[in-house]
Symmetry: C2
Subunit: 571 residues, 2 copies
């Protein structure tokens, strides 16, 4: 591409709207522009990167035998009613009516559509296994779109769905997708870690997320510093501390006026927060669920939701619900005599002695309370793991980092095939529901994540395979005919190798050209300057600050070397 | 692709829902499935063809210097309010509200978005010309979706928009796009004819459509049998017949009870319909417009709309409007004494003598009426051309055929840049509106049109470049190990050439395999059967019914020959 003909949309200033590096650089390098809140248009440079990432995904998916479909974004409500998700999906789903007043949504995901397609097309176990995918636009009306395309309302996703006749088949499909994702993110130059994730009611190791460490990530990822254990904090198993033995005290009611929070109560009674237990009340599908964790711990709402079989998100109980369960103002709830539908007790709490809890009476707490003697409940793991705790796998030390999810692989089992009555005939002539898996990659988000991991103060530093252009050819002085002629020859030669090359033929100062090439993150640059009188040009990698002086006829070879280093072929 | 692993969705029966060949074959060969009225999912075979067509479009667009963007499908209402089209677009536009109750549409086209983008990015004439395109999903809530993807509500379109500093630049851009379209449709194997089309208020030869002749086409295309004249009937110029000289009669009112239509009046008065004139009344943006054409002619509503500066579609006047204009029941309107906002007279009517028209009185007509003496109006071309008339260009004979529009190129001028205040600074430092063109190709419709032109009773016959797979390798007896081994070797060898090949390794009868390959339209097939004992296989083109017996080691060469014949390269 000759830059004199190109829509160059680089910006020198950092746009005020952008908080994070990838968002700033996607705007500054001219990859995207905002259309509306959480809705972006891709400019030419952005489209080229998207297409490169899509091509990598396609190749790796097809290498695992997946076949590409393309489904409509508009989906009739009936399909979602069949699966029961039309009402459950809530405000995040864009809904639309046609001229006949029929209900549709803009697909936020396509489980229903793929299940229905396979239900119609596949009748026999002989046609299984099958894995179908698409690279397609998704719609989610996020409450809080942010960070550019990192969390947007219209975005490109690769979603795949596997259909098997049995659990073994699903396991194979799941592992294949795991391997494909490892390859995809490697080729994208992304350091993405596969971590255990929550799989809701299905349980087991059925869900894994590919996470990119990022300071602006919205998830907390738990890593072991000693072994390879890694899990989303939603899922990460907490090991209950054993409390030291001590003599059981008598339970006593003490006045704690105006002390509602753990901190206030600990201070008022002059005890460590670790001796207190907090009782949180949740509204789960209309029922009241109480959760007890040690005073200094955090409740893990996903674990609570799973333990209480919630159909959707759970929320803290209303003031009225608290009053009803405890006969007291908020801040004085405790397990003794509480009226709830379910009482969940974190294992750590069960191990503690002589704990301090709310008295279910405004202005009062109980001391010397003990599990078993004074109250009982469903014991389990209901809290978040914390930095420095023990790894559930090896006992090593846990560390926690922020992460962004770029991929998700999930064993669905028969959730959709059962609800949508999608069945095949097995070897014995019996109807069986398809055993399904689903596998997503956020394509637009992957691009942003690559930039998060590959940039410096001057701009993007594209990994070679996803780079929109691989080489930038720059004539230092565009008025120098000889420089322009040689630059053009190099450009034409590189293009003839099937390479995406930029030729900066603009009548701009060399400094402007260098700055744009760096901002756009072009991996290699060839600078044609005064040294051509000696038959030499400058070659520089975007990752380096060193100029290599090479002969003009060495340019192709030098570029070939970089391709080989990256495991890529040039024509 | 090994067919044993493939989602094969071929159907033996012709689906009842499909009326036309392409729709039937896209269903039968397993390219598409219906999701909802006018909304389709593409199955793997369909996706492959789409991608091939898209790739051709991309290459030809980029060869003309166009750059690819990717804009959101969701577009905020404000942009459409700026251009004035939010209200004008009517029921065909899908509208959607987000959780904040803000208005958006699902883009039926993207003039507003591209104009706004260029307005923000391009400031100077130095950055012009520029041509930006996208291949993207469009939404139009058609009143009557039909013929499968031929007229659907969600479809893929290539839309491009050119921005120039002056009219000469636009002319160049328009011609480049014309040439690109010729190349695109040629490579798709489509016989698409470029015809003059209506360009609304802008006028001139500013709009051209690429039309595919088709019995099920929704447009009438006017061709000259002698020269290269071709136009959409909406646009095609009608040459007014000169009437023979005759003495002017006196105007007389005659009773014509129950005679309302031209046929009834002609019969009642025993005259040729060519002596009568029909007066049709239209509602144009609330105003009443009367149009006079010879009794046997058809009014051209596009010409009427243009002449009356209609902002949108026009419709026949209501009974109340007719009563108000004529003081009579419908069927008795005429030009003498009619009360309308505009009276349009087809040139042919002006030339006629002693015509018969409605008397604007229920039950009466006038005879001996003459233009100039008895009534006057705006004279022009307001009728449809008819088969056998004279070509406006060379005087040759006109013929009319049905056609389907697959592409449209259009000089917009400053329509959008003016209304959206999109301006650049010209050579003299003055602000000027961009001079725009827009250029569309219906991608999904192009695929259907290719099938309309390339099929037989056994299935699709893909032109080589768009074919989802180029060759099908079939072992006659899948239980014969030697046949399977050689078939597999041929398959692997052809794949190593970078070729999309199908290997029918299914345990099916040979007849089933042949039928599927023909239905899917695979251009070449290699049949491995008993002749392998002589080192021979059968080669057959989908376009032929002859089997060529060739040596196994001649297969590659034979296929190379076909590629060369089609101007294509093989690795």
């Amino acid at each position: 591409m000759r830059m004199s003909n190109m829509l160059i949309a680089t910006l020198r200033e950092v746009p005020a709207e952008a908080e994070i590096a990838s968002h700033q650089l996607m705007l500054r390098a001219g990859l995207i522009r905002k259309m509306s809140s959480g809705i972006y248009n891709h400019l030419p440079l952005g489209v080229k990167v998207l297409k490169n990432v899509e091509e990598i995904i396609r190749e790796e998916m097809e290498a695992k035998g997946a076949q590409e479909l393309l489904c409509s974004a508009i989906i009739p409500a009936e399909l979602w009613q069949e699966s029961g998700r039309w009402d459950a999906y809530g405000a995040e789903m864009f809904r639309v009516k046609d001229r006949g007043n029929r209900d549709y949504c803009l697909g936020p995901t396509h489980e229903e559509v793929f299940t229905s397609t396979v239900k119609n097309e596949i009748k026999s176990y002989k046609q299984l296994p099958i894995n179908l995918y698409q690279i397609q636009t998704k719609y989610r009306d996020e409450r809080r779109p942010r960070f550019g395309v990192m969390r947007s309302r219209e975005f490109i996703m690769k979603d795949a769905y596997s259909f098997d006749k049995d659990q073994e088949g699903l396991d194979i499909a799941f592992n294949k997708m795991h391997d494909a994702y490892v390859n995809i993110f490697n080729r994208c130059g992304l350091d993405a870690k596969c971590v255990e994730a929550d799989s809701g009611a299905i349980g087991g190791s059925n869900s894994a997320e590919f996470m990119v460490k990022s300071e602006v990530g919205e998830d907390d990822i738990v890593f072991c510093t000693a072994c390879d254990y890694a899990a989303n904090i939603e899922k990460a198993e907490a090991i209950a501390e054993k409390a030291e033995e001590e003599a059981l005290q008598e339970m006593k009611k003490v006045e704690t006026p105006n002390s509602r929070t753990i901190e206030e109560v600990s201070e008022f009674l002059n005890v460590d927060t670790k001796k207190t237990v907090k009782t949180l009340l949740y509204n789960v599908d209309g029922k009241t669920v109480a959760v007890l964790v040690r005073g200094d711990r955090e409740v893990n709402e996903v674990k609570v939701a799973n333990a209480s079989n919630a159909t959707g998100d759970i929320e803290l109980a209303s003031h009225e619900q608290v009053m009803e369960a405890t006969n007291a103002q908020t801040g004085f709830a405790g397990p003794v005599g509480i009226k709830v539908d379910l009482l969940l007790v974190d294992e750590e709490v069960k191990n503690m002695h002589n704990i301090i809890v709310g008295a279910n009476e405004t202005g009062y707490h109980l001391t010397g309370v003990n599990y078993g003697r004074d109250f009982e409940g469903v014991v389990g793991d209901f809290r978040n793991v914390e930095e420095g705790e023990k790894c559930p796998k090896c006992g090593g030390k846990i560390t926690i980092a922020k992460g962004t999810e770029v991929g998700h692989i999930f064993k669905l089992g028969t959730k959709y095939s059962e609800s949508m009555n999608a069945k095949f005939i097995d070897e014995n002539g019996k109807e069986q529901p398809f055993i399904m898996g689903c596998y997503g990659i956020g394509v637009t988000r992957t691009v942003a994540s690559i930039i998060e991991q590959h940039h410096d103060e001057n701009g993007i530093i594209w990994p070679l395979e996803v780079a929109p252009y691989k080489v930038s050819v720059i004539a230092v002085n565009s008025k120098d005919e000889e420089q322009m002629k040689i630059a053009e020859e190099i450009y034409n030669n590189l293009r003839s190798l099937g390479l995406d090359v930029l030729f900066d033929d603009r009548k701009e100062r060399a400094g402007v050209k260098f700055k744009d090439a760096e901002l756009m993150g072009i991996p290699m640059r060839v600078v044609v300057g005064k040294k051509i009188t000696d038959g030499e040009v400058e070659f520089r990698l975007r990752t380096s600050s060193d100029n290599e002086i090479i002969k003009i006829d060495e340019v192709e070879g030098r570029i070939r070397t970089e391709f080989e280093k990256n495991g890529l072929k040039l024509r």
